[in-house]
């Protein structure tokens, strides 16, 4: 095997640095924030918030695995964040359902008054 190919294989097998995970998380957070800012449908806004929550979870788990002194606490926080996100989805979709029942729309720029 030529040395260039061996070097290429070594590069492919090397471990991924921590920055890679963090930057993927940052980009995913930014995409979720963009969607939450521009979309009109409230359900899609919920999905984008879920994307942001998952990006933060990815960063937490990456820190828990890479930092020697963290003791893996980030994984515990990630479980708590998942539980809070599940509760948020349940309540948020219930609110969207109630809004749709009274207003016949879930577009966030048409539901701009908090009165029935």
């Amino acid at each position: 095997m030529p040395p260039q190919a061996q070097q290429f294989l070594d590069t492919l097998n090397s471990t991924v640095p921590l920055e890679a995970y963090l930057i993927v998380g940052a980009i995913m957070f930014a995409i979720g924030a963009w969607g939450a800012l521009i979309r009109r449908n409230a359900v899609v806004v919920f999905m984008c918030i879920e994307l942001m929550i998952n990006a933060v979870n990815l960063s937490l788990v990456a820190f828990a695995d890479y930092l020697p002194d963290a003791g893996g606490a980030g994984v515990g926080y990630a479980v708590l964040v998942i539980a809070v996100a599940a509760a948020e989805v349940a309540v948020g979709l219930a609110i969207a359902l109630a809004v749709y029942r009274t207003r016949k729309t879930v577009n966030v720029d048409e539901v701009n008054l908090m009165k029935g």
Binding site: A26, L51, I82, Y100, D109
Partner: protein, 178 residues
């Protein structure tokens, strides 16, 4: 590792873009579950297989189904031109978002992470359970947080039922005579 990382990162980020830019709401939900699958693959790479199982069960299973039910209940058939799904803040929102992403990327990459290495986290369900309960050297605050999360889930379920319950005589489903 690099190959798996590049595959998972492209899958996650492309599905995230698909959530934002898809004109069909159901496609957005399916893209969202694809993105969650990519994140669970990252969890496997980060030596947290129990958390990856939680991710698949809770997000890809439960949250996606709940959101699909929400779509089923709230969407009318509508014109799906691109201008109708976004509001007027597309470009200002894009500017803000690129600013946020660039700031986060800069702050995270300017730091010197060379002293860190993989393999420090809890490797299996047993150590993860000890962390969640705050025993075995984990911060003891996790015991309290665990209980608070239990109460929160109960309150959220009750609140979801109360908020979405239809009072008698209010609102009629389409096509259903009362």
């Amino acid at each position: 590792m690099i190959v798996a990382f590049v595959f998972l990162a492209s899958m996650t980020l492309m599905c995230a873009l698909g959530v934002v830019l898809s004109r069909n709401v159901v496609h957005s939900a399916l893209f969202m579950s694809g993105s969650f699958l990519g994140i669970s693959g990252f969890f496997v790479m980060l030596n947290a297989p129990a958390l990856a199982a939680f991710q698949v069960l809770i997000y890809v299973g439960a949250v996606t189904v709940v959101i699909l039910f929400g779509i089923m209940f709230t969407q009318r058939p509508q014109v799906r031109r691109f201008r109708t799904i976004i509001n007027r803040q597309t470009w200002s929102g894009l500017v803000v978002t690129i600013g946020v992403g660039a700031f986060l990327g800069y702050v995270l990459s300017i730091q010197d992470w060379s002293a860190t290495g993989p393999g420090n986290g809890p490797q299996g369900p047993g150590p993860l359970g000890e962390i969640l309960l705050g025993v075995g050297g984990a911060p003891p605050i996790f015991g309290l947080l665990f209980e608070v999360i239990s109460i929160l889930l109960l309150v959220a379920v009750v609140a979801a039922i109360v908020v979405s319950r239809r009072k008698t005589g209010e609102g009629v489903d389409r096509g259903v005579e009362e």
